[in-house]
Assembly symmetry: C2
Homo-oligomer: 255 residues x 2
C-alpha cells in the first residue's frame, strides 16, 4: 500500500481560541478526502500554538540577569532569551546567533522552539511578537485525537511537528513534538531480517520519519499548508507520546 500525503486546502490564518477540530474537518472535506480510521493528520506546531494563545509580546517580558548575560553572548534580544530560558530545562550550547537548549518536554532545539516568523498579534510592532511551542504538545495532539473519536467515531493519529536544524547537517527537517493515537517509536527488535539474523538497530523513529515527510509537503514559505493528511502509515496505530523519542541523558554522547 502506498503512503500518500495530501496537504489540506483552505486552512485559514489561525487566531487564539479557534476550534482547530472544526477547521480541520472543514478543510479535509474541501480537499475531497473521506477521513477514515487509521489515517493520520500531521499539524504544524504554529497553528496549534496560535490557537492556544501562545503568542507573547516581548514588551511584556522582563529579562533576568542570566538572560541578559546569555543575550550578550548570543547577540539576541534579552527579552527573547528570557522566554527561551523559561521554556527550557537546560542550555546545551550558545554562541553568536545560536542558543541550543533542552525544552521542558525534552526536545533539544534552538531557542526552545520560539519563533518570530509568520506571527501576528492584535497590536503593536509585529517584530515584537513571538510564538512559543504549545504548553504540552502531547496533550494538544491527544485532545484532537479524542475529538475525532468522540464526535465522529473514527480513530486517527495526530502528529504535531516543528522544523528544526541538525548538529552535523545543513537545512531543516520536520520533527515530532507531540503525538496522539499513534506510535512515536516502533520497536522491531527481535524481528528477523532477510537472512534470519536478529535485527540490531531496530527501533524506528516512525513519527519523526512521518514528520519529515509531512514537512516536505507543507512547504515553508507563502504557499504553506499547515495540515497534511496521511494514508498508508505502515505500523498499527496505538496510544503514543513524544516522550518515547527522548534519549535519556545517560545515553547521550553530545551534551
Amino acid at each position: 500500500m502506498p503512503l500518500t500525503l495530501t496537504p489540506l486546502n483552505g486552512i485559514p490564518f489561525i487566531h487564539a481560541g479557534d476550534d482547530l477540530f472544526q477547521i480541520m474537518l472543514k478543510a479535509v472535506d474541501e480537499t475531497g478526502i473521506h477521513l477514515a480510521t487509521g489515517d493520520i493528520l500531521v499539524i504544524a506546531q504554529k497553528i496549534i500554538s496560535k490557537a492556544e494563545g501562545r503568542l507573547v509580546n516581548l514588551s511584556t517580558v522582563k529579562p533576568s540577569p542570566r538572560a541578559v548575560e546569555i543575550a550578550g553572548i548570543t547577540e539576541k534580544d534579552p527579552r527573547f532569551v528570557e522566554l527561551v530560558l523559561q521554556e527550557s530545562k537546560q542550555v546545551l550550547r550558545m554562541r553568536q546567533n545560536t542558543l541550543i537548549v533542552e525544552h521542558r518536554n525534552g526536545y533539544v532545539c534552538a531557542n526552545a522552539g520560539i519563533d518570530h516568523s509568520n506571527v501576528q498579534g492584535d497590536w503593536g510592532n509585529a517584530e515584537d511578537w513571538v510564538l512559543l511551542l504549545p504548553e504540552d504538545s502531547d496533550r494538544s495532539a491527544q485532545q484532537l485525537c479524542s475529538a475525532f473519536d468522540q464526535r465522529l467515531g473514527i480513530q486517527i493519529g495526530v502528529l504535531i511537528i516543528d522544523s528544526h536544524g541538525r548538529a552535523w547537517r545543513l537545512g531543516t527537517v520536520g520533527t515530532t513534538i507531540g503525538v496522539g493515537g499513534m506510535p512515536a517509536l516502533v520497536d522491531l527488535r527481535g524481528k528477523p531480517d532477510l537472512l534470519g539474523f536478529r535485527l540490531r538497530i531496530t527501533q524506528v523513529a516512525a513519527a519523526d520519519e512521518l514528520a519529515a515527510a509531512a514537512s516536505l509537503v507543507m512547504g515553508q514559505a507563502d504557499e504553506a499548508s499547515p495540515v497534511v493528511h496521511v494514508r498508508g502509515f505502515p505500523y498499527p496505530l496505538r496510544e503514543g507520546s513524544f516522550q518515547e523519542l527522548v534519549r535519556p541523558s545517560e545515553l547521550d554522547l553530545f551534551r
Copy 2:
C-alpha cells in the same frame, strides 16, 4: 498535488555485479508504475553496496594498533574497527558499544555506516561478513540517474539513503547519503512568509525529508522493500549532491 511513496515489488536479493538499473526497471513495471520525468527513486544503501561488491570478510582485515585500542574502549571487533577507521576522516565519540565518526564523504554516523545485518557472502561464517557504504554514493546515484535519462529519455531523481541514529532522540530515521538529479538542500531564503516577513530558517533539507519518508515505507525487517517510487516531490529537480547537506565544521557546535 499529493506526495505518494510506493515500495517496489519484486526486488530480488542483490549480489555483486547485479545491474540495478534493469532490476529496478522490472520492479517498477511489476509494481504497475509508469515511470515519468519528475519522479524519484529512493534506494536503500544496502543494495547499492551489495551490487558494488562492498562486502568484506573480517578474516581478511588486519587491525592497526589504533583499531585495537579503540576496539578495547568500544568492545567491538578490532577488525571491524579497522574498517571503520579506513572509511573515516575523524572519530567524534567513542565508548562501550558506540563509535561515532565522520565518514570520508562528511556523513557523521555510527561505525562509518558499516553493518552486519542482512548481509551474505559466498563463503564462511555469515557473522564475519560486513557491508561498507558505497565507495561514492553521489556517483552511484548520478550514474543511475544518467542511465534513466540515456536509455529511457526520462529525467528522474535518485536518492540513496541509510538509517541512522540521532544525538538526542531514540530510534533511527532514514537519511541521505547520495543524491543524483535532485536537490539535497532547497534554499527558500528571501521568500516572504504569510505576513510578508522574510523567512529566517529557510534552508530545507528536502532530500533528508524524503529519505525519512521513504525509509518509513521501506520497513526495516523481513518485509523490507529496498526501493521506493516517489511522485509529487514539491521542488523542481536539478543536479544535486549529498555535499550540499554537510555542515561545515566551523558551523558545528557538537564536535
